[in-house]
Amino acid sequence: MIELKNTVKKFDSYTALNGVDLKIEKGTAFGLLGSNGAGKSTILRLLSGIYQQESGEVLIDGERVYDNVAAKQKVFFINDETVQFGGYTLKGLKNYYKAFYPNFSEELFESLRKRINLPLNKKINTFSKGMKRQAIVIIALACRTDYLLLDEAFDGLDPTMRIIVKKMLVDAMLDRQLTTVISSHNLKEINEVCDTAALLHNGKIVFSREIDSLKGEVHKIQAVFPKQPDGTPAEYTREDFAATGLEILHFEKSQSIYYIIAKGDEDTVRAAFAPKEPLLLEMIPLTLEEIFIYELEVLGYDSNDISGS
């Protein structure tokens, strides 16, 4: 299990993580979401032992990670760049990592390589960006670590290759309970691969829960209310709905139709709206992307700035 306890990470005067608490159960496919500079990559680098936290704890299976060979041996980190592998051939890079990961499986490596048809003896700097990503992903999977950390994992992959790589990851998760932590701006892919996700903003966790339950807890509501006794259209404010105990993420009114994003299960939402006797009450489940946008909107983050959305 991965645990971050009240973790603080600073870069000079800038606080990248400000008291983050996070738990990732073994076998989970965990998505890290967040705005730019929210601290996603920092968490991955803390988990892979590259960075050392200023305070708090970063644990893998109960052991601190930084400067701890035993813990680091369980983790493979793929960052968002590939230039570092340019000087190697795939074979050379494979041998390099094989030296440090005793569980490395040649058999698995070969089967994965053949699946995506990567050349063994060509310099990696002659590969396309997507091929480079594939190369490091198959090496990472062949290292057979317990935890795989991917920063912008699917960046540069074409749609077909995305599917293949995702399938590889899913296979590994199913086969050997690989715990995957994926940070990405591409929420669709997180949605497809991950079962749990956390949203980070300004170095803090906004939420961390299973994606399905997350989707079930946030609703886009379209409602129309009857006119008032004097014949004028019903006028409700955001506060009127918040007063019912709902957490309103977004509130918008167009003529007589109310568009509201609210947190809470379906029954609670319906119960909150019932006293106002809506003529129309339609509840549409949100995509992860919408949840991301509305959650950050509440925190004052301008959604137009979020890349990948």
Binding site: R45, I50, V69, V83, D175
Partner: protein
């Protein structure tokens, strides 16, 4: 497939080491090629040169061959120099991942601790650097050994210990160069700064040490020897540049033909240098490791991870520039202004580069002012404290392991650079040193002072230039140079003559002179002659330097004699030295005292009996004049330059004048209260100048008695007469008996 987790952490140090080597195999190959072009090529050249030497060919063809070989010497030397400088590059290549974020991610995320990663990288880099050197040395050894089988090069095996020792200096210097480079790399965050810092740190460490010394020597020069910094381990054992200087010093000072008669420098300094250099290298390594361990991965791409080192290098550079300018100044104010301008320009350029622009640039002038202030403070302190008290510092006798003292015209000492470990010599030299320092700094306490203090009376005193080198038990070398009164050296001379080192050197000198007597082949080393079983002829002369006997001795017999004479010198007490009478002379004017039982027994065994001087010994057959001259009541004065028409080089000698010399002139001179004949040259003066200074040349029984009572050794006292016989000078001590003998000599018994 089921997920597996290794139960225990494995150490990947070895794996990292191997992968590092494999990743840098190109530079390994380059280094190997360079090393192969280095020593092995030079070895082949040496063999060809040795072959040509054997041919003893002086034809044009020989000259052509020599010219043909010359480029290969340059190729070999060039290859060695480049391969040594590869230390920078290898260090840079091994830690280049510190400067690129993707590489930091890759390397830091591997299952390695910081310690494992650092040392695996360090050792693999060192292996790439040094393994080709080892292979090259082995290859050269094989080439030379095989060549020697055919050429039988003279002294081939004798020089090997030195070759290994000098080679070890190079290896230690290389390790230091590599380690300092790693150290410089660890406090930088980008490649440009790393390259700059490697060069800066390697240069600034010796430069700063040198400039601190320069500041001391220029502000408080009394007794300080400027160039002594170059053989102080503080300078030579703390940087690769220093090691290079030490290497050349060793090459030019080592006794290449005889390991057993090493100079003081390579006998004691070498091991000490090695120890200090190794310790310093380890300190650099520990510093580099701590910086590496503490540096944060996120510091990548910052110009300096530890900015204090940038400022330290900058401050040291400013200090060096200012010190040099102040040392060579003609005018203090112009030196300061020009120094501030030069340093300021350099400082701000470096600040702009290090800051990558003008970010918070207002702090740059503050830093410069602080550094400049510190430099002036240090220079001021140096001035106020008389070079931080360095000129006043005299090592305690107990802390001195050995001392060597070089006195001009030191005729009593076999070798000028003889090193003495004898405690009495060390005590006497430190006492002399303290005396010289005290006379300089407490001028008013003394009737006469060290000459440095009274420049206007430079020629008034009988002075000697003394150079003292202490090797302390702490591994430091302290070198001083003073001009002192000759009489101040009395105790030092006495201690030296009674020391074991003197006994060994004197006995060996006599033995070597006997070996070289009458042979065509000259031996520079007694050990070599002994190895070759060379005997000799020991000449024994009486007090008037007449040969009494010449004994033919085998190598074994000569060694027996050497041991006997050495034992007698060792057993000689200071009282015997001052008061004993001379029995006979040995080659090179070495004397045998009456108390030298072993030597006398040896001579007796070889039927040599030296009688007291008789009247007949004094006269020269066929001539009326005696070969004796007696100077009664000699007055010892120093004199103004050129008084006797001699050139300046004679001005520091003692001269003796007879009692009837012009009194008015005599009053102009400063009388001295004691002499030590180790440094006098009265005989040469006497014979090279007018005979009028010799007041008597009588041949009589009384004259013979006078000679028998006189001694060639006078230490710290005034004789009542000086006797010249042939080339020997004897002194008559001021005793009642001697006064009676002198009176009898002049007026008859």
């Amino acid at each position: 497939m089921t997920a597996t987790t290794s139960a225990a952490a494995k150490s990947f140090f070895g794996k990292r080491f191997v992968t590092d080597i494999l990743e840098n195999k190109k530079i390994l190959i380059i280094n190997f090629v360079l090393e192969t072009l280095g020593l092995p090529v030079i070895s082949v050249v040496v063999l060809i040169a040795a072959y040509l030497d054997k041919l003893n060919d002086t034809s044009d063809q020989y000259i052509d061959w020599t010219l043909f070989l010359l480029p290969f010497v340059f190729i070999g030397a060039g290859a060695i120099i480049i391969s040594i400088l590869l230390g920078f590059v290898i260090a840079l290549f091994h830690y280049n991942y510190l400067y690129r974020k993707p590489l930091v991610d890759m390397h830091y995320s591997l299952p390695l601790s910081n310690t494992q990663r650092f040392f695996a990288d360090y050792i693999s880099g060192l292996a790439i650097y040094l393994v080709p050197v080892v292979i090259s040395v082995i290859l050269s050894f094989v080439i030379l050994t095989v060549g020697n089988v055919f050429l039988d090069i003279e002294g081939f095996w004798d020089i090997f210990p030195h070759v290994i020792k000098s080679g070890m200096i190079v290896v230690v210097g290389m390790i230091m160069l590599y380690t300092i480079s790693v150290f410089a790399i660890t406090f930088c965050g980008s490649t440009f700064e790393a390259i700059f810092s490697i060069i800066a740190v390697n240069s600034i460490i010796p430069a700063t040490i040198g400039c601190v010394w320069l500041a001391i020597v220029t502000t408080a020069p009394y007794g300080m020897v400027g160039e002594s910094i170059f053989y102080s381990p503080v300078f030579t054992a703390t940087s690769p540049l220093g090691a290079t200087i030490y290497f050349f010093y060793y090459m030019f000072n080592a006794n290449w033909t005889d390991m057993y008669t090493l100079s003081s420098f390579d006998r004691s300094m070498y091991i000490r240098w090695m120890m200090i250099a190794c310790v310093v290298t380890v300190v650099y390594l520990i510093a580099a490791f701590l910086l590496y361990k503490l540096r944060k991965a996120e510091s990548v791409s910052k110009p300096y991870v530890y900015k204090s080192f940038f400022y330290a290098v900058g401050a040291m550079t400013v200090f060096c520039i200012m010190t040099v300018l102040l040392a060579i100044r003609i005018n203090l104010i112009s030196a300061v202004i020009s120094g501030v301008i030069i340093c300021g320009i350099g400082w701000f350029i470096m600040e702009v580069i290090a800051r990558r622009g003008f970010k918070r640039f207002w702090t740059a002038p503050l830093g410069f002012i602080a550094v400049m202030g510190s430099v002036f403070l240090i220079c001021g302190l140096c001035k106020v404290t008389d070079g931080f008290g360095a000129p006043r510092h005299v090592p305690a006798a107990i802390s001195v392991e050995s001392v060597s003292i070089d006195v001009n015209n030191a005729s009593l000492l076999p070798h000028k650079d003889s090193e003495f470990r004898d405690k009495n010599v060390i005590k006497a030299v430190t006492a002399l040193n303290k005396d010289a320092v005290d006379r300089h700094f407490h001028f008013d306490k003394y009737t006469y002072n060290t000459i440095d203090k009274i420049d206007s009376e430079n020629d008034k005193y009988d002075v000697q230039r003394v150079e003292i080198t202490y090797q302390t038990i702490y591994g430091s070398t302290v070198k001083r140079e003073y001009t002192v009164m000759s009489s101040m050296l009395s105790d030092v001379v006495e201690a030296i003559l009674c020391s074991d080192e003197y006994a060994e050197e004197a006995a060996t000198e006599v033995a070597l002179a006997s070996i070289n007597d009458g042979t065509s082949k000259y031996y520079g080393s007694y050990t070599t002659a002994q190895k070759e079983g060379k005997g000799g002829r020991l000449a024994v002369a009486n007090k008037v330097n007449k040969n009494v006997s010449t004994i033919a001795l085998s190598s074994k017999g000569l060694e027996e004699f050497r041991k006997a004479y050495m034992q007698d010198l060792r057993d000689m007490t200071p009282e015997e030295l001052r008061e004993g009478s001379v029995y006979c002379y040995l080659p090179n004017n070495y004397w045998v005292l009456d108390s030298f039982a072993n030597t006398k027994a040896f001579l007796a065994d070889h039927d040599v009996e030296v009688s007291a001087i008789r009247e007949s010994d004094i006269s020269t057959p066929g001539y009326n004049n005696a070969n004796l001259s007696v100077i009664n009541k000699p007055g010892f004065y120093s004199r103004p330059k050129n008084f006797f028409g001699k050139d300046d080089s004679y001005s520091s000698y003692y001269y003796t004048y007879s009692y009837y010399y012009d009194g008015d002139d005599v009053n102009k001179y400063s009388e001295v209260d004691a002499i030590t004949n180790a440094f006098t040259d009265t005989s040469s003066y006497h014979y090279s100048s007018s005979s009028s200074v010799s007041d008597s040349q009588f041949v009589s029984e009384e004259a013979a008695a006078l000679i028998n009572a006189a001694t060639p050794i006078i230490i710290g006292e005034m004789p009542i007469a000086i006797l010249h016989i042939e080339s020997n000078t004897l002194y008559l001590r001021d005793t009642t008996e001697n006064r009676a003998l002198l009176k009898a000599y002049y007026y008859g018994a």
